[in-house]
């Protein structure tokens, strides 16, 4: 069991490392460095200074953020310098070895020691910025996940129990229509319907309220925040409900065909008992995998919600740092989510083996 888990992680780590490295390298290769827009902006802070001051400030910025160093261990000389000699010298690839003083090496050695570098924009450590934002995201994720799973279970079971009547069809139609609304349209519509003075104003609109007293206990601050979190959580639930219900339903109705269900029916059990006692446990097995697949993707989904409802969380941090070209934060978030995904996959494996004795026996 543990050996199996160890093997899984051992295989997953190189793949993750390659992907994260690619994202890091892409962030530095593609045109547009951090700090460029400081000078492009006409009304910006530096617009009053002379050209010389601008270049000095830019060079200091590059120095501080290590962006003046070569990118990788090996690299081509830039054409600008080469072209000064003759017209065609760029046609000869000019490889040079940069040694360990390159951006990738510095970044990688930092990641291996557990630090994700410094944010370009605020010069705070990236790990600090991310942990600060992660709390709200995790809160929304956990609440909405639990509610979604519970609702999907109830809906799936009722649809199986009432097969043949009109209700399952109606529920399915509703879910299909709900599924065709993209997350951001859905949440904006709910925002307009439930939190605007023109229609119903049931919920507060933006933010998380005032963080008034400094030394509140965590429970009271959570209670203060709950009204603000209710609408975002509702949006997440509605957005994920169709997919999850469909998965529950198809896996439940699949297990209902099995022979042991016929036996249970033949014993004279009521159909409610048949479903909850006999079918449910087996039907839940594939859902574990689906959930572990969904979780990391949900983080990206919460980003949109966080933007719309102005909640400081990981997704909002991601989009804001995208707009500010704050590369260390973006790459840091990618690393964190990738690790999160790896862990949730491993956890799903463990849960699967715990829930299904057949796999436990074959793994030995």
């Amino acid at each position: 069991m543990l050996r199996h888990l160890f093997h899984r992680l051992l295989y997953a780590i190189p793949v993750l490392w390659v992907m994260v490295s690619v994202i890091f390298l892409l962030s530095r290769i593609l045109p547009g460095t951090f700090g460029e827009q400081l000078f492009a902006d006409e009304a910006g802070f530096y617009s009053k200074g002379s050209q010389q001051q601008k270049t000095i400030a830019y060079e200091q910025l590059l120095q501080r953020t290590n962006q003046q160093l070569p990118l990788f261990y090996v690299g081509f000389a830039s054409i600008k310098a080469a072209e000064a000699h003759t017209g065609y010298s760029y046609l000869l690839p000019d490889l040079n070895w940069n040694g360990t003083g390159n951006q990738y090496h510095l970044w990688a050695s930092e990641v291996l020691t557990g630090s994700l570098g410094q944010s370009f924009a605020s010069t705070r450590p990236v790990t600090e910025v991310i942990t600060e934002a992660a709390g709200n995201t995790i809160l929304i994720l956990l609440f909405s996940m639990f509610i979604t799973i519970a609702l999907a279970l109830v809906a799936g079971i009722t649809m199986v129990l009432w097969q043949g009547s009109k209700w399952p069809q109606l529920l399915l139609t509703f879910l299909i229509v709900l599924d065709s609304l993209p997350l951001f349209v859905l949440s904006l519509l709910l925002l307009l319907l439930l939190a605007s003075p023109d229609a119903l104003q049931l919920f507060p609109v933006f933010g998380l309220g005032y963080s008034s007293v400094a030394n509140q206990s965590s429970i009271t601050s959570l209670l203060n925040q709950l009204p603000y979190l209710a609408l975002p959580i509702l949006c997440m639930v509605l957005a994920n409900l169709p997919y999850l219900t469909n998965q529950f339903y198809s896996s439940l109705s699949g297990t209902m065909q099995a022979d042991y269900i016929k036996t249970a029916r033949a014993k004279g059990l009521r159909s409610y008992k048949v479903v909850t006692r006999h079918a449910l446990r087996n039907a839940l097995l594939p859902v574990i995998t689906i959930l572990s697949d969904m979780l990391p993707a949900l983080v990206a989904g919460t980003g949109i919600i966080e933007i719309i409802f102005a909640i400081p969380g990981i997704g909002r941090l991601l989009v804001n740092s995208v707009l500010a070209r704050d590369f260390p934060v973006i790459v840091g978030i990618v690393v964190v989510i990738a690790v999160f995904k790896m862990i949730s996959h491993a956890l799903a494996d463990v849960l699967y083996t715990l829930a299904d004795p057949r796999i436990r026996n074959s793994a030995k």
């Binding site: 547009g32 600008k80 046609l91 299909i176 609109v205 989009v319 995208v322 995904k341």
Partner: protein
């Protein structure tokens, strides 16, 4: 085709969805020639946040800069589909080809001489320099464009020279002549695993950060992340088809592999691919407008559903900015889903 005609007659929801999609397609094609009152980027600063159905010229109202919502919605549909359709077509094509080849050849059916492999690796490295590095340098340092063309020509001619002149010489050497197996299936699976190791939206958001927003970059990133789904699907289908008796019959009549794959196998795995295609177009429309809504998808000069909806952030009571483009988007996705749902049903029924 017979099945579709049958569906057309029996299912009214399929009929409506298909008619709607056809109307949308025609709209997209004729939109530039329609005599509309406004162009999508035309500002009308005297009529900002005009409510719908009140003015005779702005039927759906206007947004925060006085741009007409109706015209923007129509052009948003056009731009959305003009990105979603080609991207999905290309990624389905790449995915089907790679997936079918991986499923058919497996790990040990493709052989190649070591010398040829060596040349291929050299060519790829050289092309990376001439076709990727040089143009990127030209873009970053604003050099003249002729450099790009010259480097393209030099790069391809060096590669052609290597392939046609050096390769036969290398293959004469006994050590390089031996055949090596190419584990195509494993390579495909590994690269799919690599691309799916991160959530799609995360890759999209972070990569679109690294360069200024452009249609080209957005499409390339979308294609790179979307081919994996189709590839997985068609690989699985190919593994199933390979076991069927008619494939054995085709092999025993001495058909070439190429002919078997393209004439016998692909027509049989195309129907799930079509369903995935239709489903994928809906997903792409949603993702494109989400990215535009966040301000990191299409450039801000392109009218899109997401851009119009984003206007709600400056005035929360302007419901028409969400209702019209959002409703249009939802309707389109719904129609696509209904179509793919019915198509899945008939392929399942035919399977029985």
């Amino acid at each position: 085709m017979l099945d579709i005609a049958e569906l057309w007659r029996r299912r009214w929801s399929f009929k409506i969805a298909l008619l709607y999609l056809l109307a949308l397609l025609i709209l997209v094609l004729v939109l530039p020639f329609l005599p509309l009152l406004y162009t999508p980027n035309q500002l009308d600063l005297e009529n900002v946040f005009l409510k719908p159905f009140e003015s005779s010229t702005h039927v759906f109202g206007t947004d925060q800069l006085g741009r007409d919502v109706l015209v923007n919605t129509l052009h948003g549909a056009r731009n959305g589909l003009l990105i979603a359709l080609p991207v999905m077509l290309i990624s389905s094509f790449i995915g089907t080809t790679i997936g079918a080849l991986a499923g058919y050849f497996g790990n040990n059916k493709i052989n190649s001489r070591r010398g040829s492999l060596l040349i291929v690796v050299c060519c790829v490295l050289l092309l990376l320099y001439y076709v990727l590095h040089v143009p990127l340098q030209v873009v970053t340092y604003d050099l003249s464009e002729t450099i790009v063309y010259i480097s393209f020509i030099v790069g391809t001619s060096i590669c052609l020279f290597l392939w046609y002149a050096i390769r036969p010489l290398l293959n004469r050497l006994s050590s390089l002549r031996a055949k090596a197996k190419i584990p195509f299936d494993s390579i495909t699976l590994r690269s799919i695993e690599l691309l799916t190791s991160l959530p799609k939206l995360l890759i999209l958001i972070s990569v679109s950060a690294f360069a200024p927003p452009s249609v080209m970059l957005l499409s390339v990133v979308l294609i790179c992340t979307y081919w994996t789904g189709t590839a997985r699907l068609s690989r699985a289908e190919m593994l199933r088809i390979k076991q069927l008796p008619y494939m054995e019959a085709a092999l025993s009549t001495g058909m070439s592999h190429k002919r078997i794959i393209f004439k016998e196998a692909i027509p049989n795995l195309i129907s799930p691919v079509v369903v995935a295609f239709i489903f994928g177009v809906g997903g792409l429309l949603a993702i494109e407008s989400t990215l535009s809504f966040l301000g990191i998808g299409l450039p801000a000069t392109f009218p899109s559903w997401g851009r119009t909806i984003a206007g709600i952030r400056s005035n929360l009571s302007a419901w028409w900015l969400v209702a019209f483009p959002g409703g249009f988007l939802a309707l389109t996705v719904l129609a696509l889903q209904i179509c793919s749902y019915h198509l899945v049903r008939i392929t399942q029924e035919r399977g029985r």
